[in-house]
């Protein structure tokens, strides 16, 4: 398990990066935390001829308040997300998600940009950013653009990034008052990728659900928003929430794909159980918070 030969370049500006992409095309690959890329290289499943270290690029690190949103640099590591007071205050769902990702060693190296670009179907963050209606900020040869998270994930390990483009940041709207959020997953062992998981956001006004975003991971070929299931929740009174219509809608709107240990039928069943449990948990936490 030794990587095929490769060159390593640490770039300090975007122009330099673009030159390397222009010269090497697909053979150049960005490295962030290396927690997915390096194992793939060791097994020679990934064979970049040039490894592009982007840690020195300006504007990729840091977590900052932009007024109505929080901008998270692509190179922010999981531990940075967990320790951020800004996120704890304005988007606690991100911090809750970090606790479910892998193990401490991986959390202290893996980055949010690498995670989203890698787009593992069972990964937490791609669901979280969709539930939060975040935008993925991208920079490439054609300049900058920004894509809603719900449109960024195209399939297993496939995202809306053109050659030469990288993620520079993720912009997450601050949670409005009355927001409930929660994340849960079923795993075989603690730290494993999820067999089925959900990251849910409910916006509550006057005791009723005004908006809902239910993102599922580990179920389909990518993290997906269950829009029909979410629609069944809107208008319901929180204290008397009936999850059954959501579970039903979910079962018909998603197209589960098997992983090594669970077939599609199991995934469909598990996400139903999870939806019920997570909604109940969110309702009961809101009761505690207010009562």
């Amino acid at each position: 398990m030794k990587a095929a030969p490769f060159d390593y370049v640490r770039v300090s500006c975007f122009e330099e990066m673009q030159e390397i992409f222009a010269a090497h095309g697909d053979d150049a690959q960005v490295i962030a935390g290396g927690q997915s890329l390096i194992p793939a290289m060791a097994m020679r499943m990934a064979r970049p001829s040039v490894l592009l270290d982007i840690a020195g690029l300006p504007g990729l690190s840091g977590i900052e308040d932009t007024g109505d949103a929080i901008r998270i640099g692509a190179m922010a590591r999981y531990v940075d997300l967990r320790e951020s007071a800004l996120l704890a205050t304005h988007v606690p769902l991100i911090r809750d998600a970090v606790a479910l990702i892998a193990h401490e060693a991986i959390r202290s190296r893996g980055t949010i940009g690498g995670n989203l670009a890698h787009a593992d179907p069972a990964s937490e963050m791609p669901a979280v950013v969709q539930a939060l209606d975040a935008r993925i900020d991208i920079r490439g040869p054609e300049g900058q653009r920004s894509v809603p998270a719900a449109e960024f994930f195209l399939g297993t390990y496939a995202v809306d990034l053109a050659p030469g483009e990288i993620i520079v940041s993720v912009t997450v709207p601050k949670a409005p008052a009355g927001r409930l959020s929660g994340i849960q997953e079923f795993v075989r062992r603690s730290g494993d990728y999820a067999s089925a998981g959900g990251a849910f956001v409910l916006d509550v006004e006057n005791g009723r659900i005004a908006a809902a975003r239910l993102a599922c991971f580990g179920v389909c070929d990518r993290a997906v928003l269950a829009e029909q299931a979410a629609a069944t929740l809107v208008g319901q009174e929180l204290a008397a929430l009936d999850p059954e219509p959501a579970v039903k809608a979910l079962a018909s709107e998603i197209e589960p794909t098997a992983d090594l240990h669970n077939g599609p039928a199991t995934k469909r069943h598990l996400i139903g159980v999870l939806t019920k449990r997570l909604l109940a948990d969110m309702v009961s936490r809101s009761g505690k918070a207010h009562g």
Binding site: F186, D192, Y193, N262, T266, H269
Partner: protein, 791 residues
Amino acid sequence: MLKRNDARADKSNFVGKTVPRENARRLSQGRGRYVDDIAFRNLAHVAFVRSPHAHARILSIDTQAARAVPGVIDVITGQDIRSMCQPWVGVLGHFPGLKSAEQYPLAVDVARWHGEPVAVVLAESRALAEDGADLIEVEWEALPSVVDPETALESDAHVIHPELGDNLAFRLDLEKGEVDAAFASAAHIAEGTFHFGRHTGLTLEPRSIVADFDPALRQLTVHHSTQTPFQMQDVFARHFGLEEGSVRVIAPDVGGSFGLKLHVYGEEMAACALSIRHGRPVKFIADRLEAFQTDIHARDHRVKARMAVSAEGEILAMEVDDLTGIGPFSVYPRTSAVEGNQAIRLMGGPYRMPSYRGRLQVVFQNKTPMCQYRAVGHPVACAVTEGLVDQAAHALGIDPLEMRRRNVVTQDMYPHTSPTGYVFERLSHEECHARLAEMMNYERLRREQAEARERGVYRGIGFATFIEITNPGPAFYGVGGARISAQDGCVMKMEPSGDIRVMVSVTEQGQGTETIMAQIAATHLGVPLERVRVYTGDTQTSPYGGATWASRGAGIGGVAVMKTAEALKENLLTVAATILQAQPGELDISAGAVVSRASGEERMPLSELGRIAYFRPDTLPAGFHAELTAARHYVPQGYPFAFTNGVQASHLEVDIETGQVRLLDHWVVEDCGRIINPLLVDEQIRGGVVQGLGGALFEECLYSPEGQLLCGTMADYLTPMAAEMPDIHVGHVETPTETSPLGAKGVGEAGTAAAPAAVMNAINDALSPFGASVSRMPFTPERVLRALGKV
């Protein structure tokens, strides 16, 4: 619980005391010296080209581009290696009818499992060797593969070795008593089909070797992560045409073995072949993917079984049909018949059951070879037997622990012979059951279980009574023609300082063998423990012996050490008596000094004895020669094996909506005879239980229907981790074996033998309100959900 320095406080008796492992501090501080840590000059490395197919003919291999890579030294294919090494066949005479095909280190013409090595590249570094391997083009013609053992014997199945006629490697039929009559008269017949998935040993240190051939001396020195240096010395000598004395095998620190580091693997043989060819050291360290593809796998059984019981719950008979898939070859030199042979012979072992019919079919298939792994055959026999016992108890309305009490072989029956021919000197099932019920507070647990059910929480309690084969004598391999020593030896010397050096043929892989040997030596010599050093694992300096497998280290090697210590003590007392002008009988050795036997008064420290004996023998009477080294060998006699016994219980909770099993507690009461070191015995039990729980709940080598191995990393192959493990409570009953003066039996495999059965029974107990049950290991959430009809 036990104080660290207990043992040192009592200066003479260390047997039965908790003593920490001497090497634990060194290893945990990173000062281990594993094969990969040892520096060699002029070292070359190998990387392998492996079959991407489960079964395929090699049409051509183009090595041109690989040879052109700077740093690549040589490329060898299966055809080339035929002239470099004698082939082997994994059969032994005591398994009549067992067949297997000739094997070379690399596949010749046909590859028969996904991952089988077909070519090897030798280069200046492992990375360069992999670069070379990358460029080798193999032209394949895919062949139909046999994957599921159930299909291996079908008439249209592709025959993996046409010269063998069919895919049946071995068949064994056993019958004793009145089986048909028992089933005809039974009040109830419990019946089931049990599946045991493939898993693997997963040592922390992977398989490792550096072979170093010196052409001038025609001497092959092999640093090898192995359990069995002497067996490997013999193998290397015979297959490379070298004198046995010209092969030296050194096992430095070995990071776990679990049975997988005593088989012959193509990669290690290829490393030796290349070292001999190039006259320079050659290293192979398996990476994790190679470990999954080529370390022996374990289990892979499908057992159909039934059990006849009377209305009172008496087990009348069992009938068992075991089908097991061993991959394309029976593994050399121990064969892949041992696992199945033990599985069908251990069935019903703890019980008085008078009648038994067993059928074993061992079949070839296109998967990684299967062979002996910790608790060979035991978990299979135990789960089948205990699963049926629980079913019968449930049907008859008898409490499962009571059902077992009614059937175990009782104290008045020993020595007892099982219907499959195993002889038990003396076991302690009744005491173990009583002890277990008390430790786990059984009655209270049942009450709590009932209360939890009211709340919709489904907990289960499962039992598994077990026996374990330990201390095997020559009946195990020697009688079959294998050159695998059944005896072990020890050489012990006293140095001028009075320190004791012990060389023993059993080996250490992290379990604490060396510590136990030191305890025995110190006790029987009468010296402080810290004055004893134990050396193992070098064929050039250790006495010859069988080494470590089948839970034999303490029970056999320990006796060799004990006898040697007694002999050396006698020698030392003779010297002391001569110096002190006393009779040897008036003297003794205690706490490192010669003392008066009657008063215990110190007469002379051993260092003084050493000074006189080594440096001033001129002061001793003419004609007197001090003997300061002793050697003894030991082989168990009387019984072919020493059986141990015990019982395990599992307490767990099943989430009936997700199928997830949460382990709450696990208990083991075991009887390994005389306990030499309680701490190490408990560690062996706990580690063994965890490996058993792995096979029961997590670990599985998954294959596609075409025979592609699907799990090549630790992310896909799930091993149990600390967070998922329950507290494991261990209790002991001690019934020393009278066949050995030490009284110790083995303990290395007992934990693994019964943990899966206990978990299976506990899950089924939890699921009983739904009439659901599972019998296919590992019990994944998906399988539990299927049993519940939810998916």
